[in-house]
């Protein structure tokens, strides 16, 4: 009698025999017993999954490393970071609102000068507005890395848009300069808050990113404000 190969019996531990094999297993006690033995091996393995064993890690060593890597933070640090994030979020909305006022002002100014609405809108809505909307929707992020990427892209888009406006937009309406002043005031407050937070957590990547983005945006807004002032006027306050 031709017995079933060992590896086939091992496979049949959790597999179905074909018709020929079924016939053989019904007649051959040795192969049938072998199949049962393999089934027991598989059952023991499945039991192993439910086994509860003492951990091989210990909290003392693990917590020291977690603290070292900044995963465990002290209550003061946690609280400071929460306050910082809440403040920055509020200020980001202020900057976004200022930016919205600015765009509206620019579009209105252009229309009053006789420009068609479509052209005025096309010129007045820079790429950074879509970046800002994306950044406000926290559900769009899958990881901190993706959030940081969006943050960096938003910074680059904002700078590009401001450079474009500084170069090509010749609007000097009072509404536009007021909007720049509002944005600048909000950015200054953000920079000051970021700097305070940085002094508490100098290595925090998010706070660093926010700080440098704010400074970049502030410089651009400052330049644009100076350019938007009437000829001969000097920037003394905002």
């Amino acid at each position: 009698m031709q017995h079933l190969p060992i590896e086939r019996l091992a496979e049949l531990a959790d597999g179905e025999p074909n018709a020929t094999e079924q016939l053989h297993l019904a007649e051959c006690a040795m192969c049938a017993a072998e199949r049962v033995a393999y089934m027991r091996v598989v059952a023991m393995a499945a039991d192993e999954r439910r086994r509860i064993a003492p951990p091989v890690t210990n909290w003392g060593a693990l917590s020291a490393e977690l603290r070292n890597q900044g995963v465990i933070t002290t209550k003061a640090e946690t609280s400071a970071r929460k306050v910082f994030i809440a403040k920055v979020t509020r200020m980001a909305w202020q900057v976004a609102a200022g930016f919205g006022i600015l765009v509206t002002g620019l579009v209105t100014g252009r229309m009053s000068a006789g420009m068609p609405l479509r052209t005025a809108l096309a010129m007045g809505v820079p790429d950074s507005t879509s970046g800002m909307q994306l950044a406000m929707n926290t559900d769009d992020f899958t990881s901190t890395a993706s959030a940081m990427q969006v943050l960096q892209k938003a910074q680059q888009d904002y700078e590009r848009a401001m450079m474009y406006l500084a170069k090509y937009d010749t609007s000097t309406s009072e509404g536009a300069t007021q909007a720049y002043r509002t944005t600048l005031a909000a950015l200054d407050e953000m920079a000051e808050t970021s700097l305070k937070a940085l002094s508490q957590s100098p290595a925090d990547p998010i706070i660093n990113q926010v700080y440098f983005t704010t400074l970049g945006a502030r410089n651009m807004t400052l330049g644009k404000l100076a350019a938007a002032l009437p000829v001969g006027a000097r920037l003394s306050r905002f």
């Binding site: 027991r40 393995a45 999954r49 091989v56 693990l62």
Partner: protein, 206 residues
Amino acid sequence: METSRASPVTKTVNAMATDFLTIQRAIEGDERALRALWSQHAPHIDAVVRRLAGDPDLAEDIAQEVWIQIFRALPTYRGESQFGTWAHRIAVNRTLNALRRTRRLTKIETDMDEETVSVEHTGDQAMLRSVIDAAAAKLSPGARTVFVMHDVEGFTHEEIAKELGITPGGSKSQLFKARAKLRRLLAHLVDAPSTGTGQENAAPAY
């Protein structure tokens, strides 16, 4: 009265809500929350690492690395599966990566060594479980990994193939070789007592 007889669904929902709050606190760096997650899940997560690593000292190093990775990845946990399932997946991936680094998985098609060990029979269930663990440690690294992933952790051959960079057929072949060796190593435990004498219990001489 109703609260003391909460349905299984209610209990699960409550447990998930508690987990969610603990995870939120853990993301903020709260040590007590991090420790609570570790205490609750370490017995399972560390066991996965230990089984895949095969060596207790190596398992200790890898398990610490696994837990750091789990905690660092916490902000990406979106609650689509239970925390334990999510952490289990990270543990398997991270352990396989660590084993690759230590070159224990470089030759996945390693031939099975023919070393034989005797395994003492004992009726104690806990001992039975540790016996299969000890026997699996006698397998080649590649065969042990496939056996643990398939028969213990419940991965499919397709998933194993993807994780290890081999074909599903290669995974099956390794698994059946591993089972065949374990069947020999655990003969005293898996041979049916009703089949009679030792001669009759022996594996067929194919």
